[in-house]
């Protein structure tokens, strides 16, 4: 990997971790949404270091463009109730879940950190619209159609669930 790629990776790694920490620790949901936005944009930059140009664009379009906007829209819709007060009680189980998560993450990440494989040379169209598009439309055509049906069902289901039935 070139030194420019290393610099981009380190920068995006730091920003993605900071964004994730802001997301899970912010008391106000809008700040959490902005942290999620920072996390997503920096992950899109990290995808560029992995030669996944089309997925970086899709990440920006779908996550930053649709999912974060949906979160912000729901925060606006709910208003002051979007902020939940501090958690009372159940200290033991919360501490336990946090400790177990940190232990597992430390074990996995320290054992994986020095695992190495040669990067090798990628072909010219690796990760571009042409390469990934050919892979999707030749090898994964049926899953691609199924995912479009899934998104359609999700839209109809979201409307059916969120629609008010009381009045």
């Amino acid at each position: 990997m070139t030194s420019a790629g290393t610099i981009l990776f380190v920068t995006t790694a730091i920003f993605s971790m900071v964004g994730a920490l802001v997301t899970v620790s912010a008391r106000r949901p809008l700040r959490a949404a902005i942290g999620l936005l920072v996390h997503i944009v920096s992950l899109a930059g990290m995808f560029l270091t992995l030669d996944a140009q089309l997925l970086a664009a899709i990440q920006l379009l779908v996550y930053a463009g649709a999912v974060v906007v949906l979160f912000v829209f729901v925060i606006m819709l709910i208003g002051p109730a979007a902020e939940v007060g501090p958690i009372q009680g159940r200290i033991a189980s919360r501490t336990m879940s946090l400790a177990v998560t940190i232990a597992i993450v430390l074990a996995v990440s320290t054992s994986l950190a020095y695992y190495d494989l040669p990067w090798g040379a990628a072909s010219q169209e690796f990760g571009t619209v042409e390469g990934l598009g050919m892979a999707i439309y030749s090898k994964a055509l049926v899953p691609f159609e199924v995912i479009s049906i899934t998104l359609l069902v999700a839209i109809v289901g979201a409307v059916a669930v969120a629609r008010s039935r009381t009045e």
Binding site: S16, V24, I40, V105, I147, V161, A162
Partner: protein, 100 residues
């Protein structure tokens, strides 16, 4: 800067998302934590696909993960809005409608 660095970073990001999901009681932030976990899986898929770059299998998988995450966010937020209509709060400690 090997593939292991990407895997370790993905593990850390997944852990942050899991810790947020387990310790927070705000349903909005729990949904955001699920998005963090799904994103970290994409990093692993793309890193391994870059190593074995003869095909695009990992990127195709990441593409489908992104699509499913978008559908999950839409349905999850719809459930949140419906829950807020009933309980007037989004604290998941108060979610016990199906308990008894």
């Amino acid at each position: 800067m090997g593939v292991g660095t990407y895997l370790a970073l993905a593990a850390v990001l997944f852990g942050i998302g899991a810790a947020g999901f387990l310790t927070r009681r705000n349903m909005l932030i729990q949904l955001m934590s699920i998005e963090l976990m799904l994103n970290s899986v994409n990093v692993v898929l793309l890193a391994f696909n870059r190593v074995h770059s003869a095909n695009h299998e990992g990127q195709v998988f990441a593409f489908f993960v992104i699509a499913v995450a978008a559908a999950e966010a839409a349905v999850g937020l719809a459930i949140l809005v419906a829950y807020y209509r009933i309980k007037k709060t989004i604290d998941t400690d108060d979610a016990r409608l199906l308990k008894y």
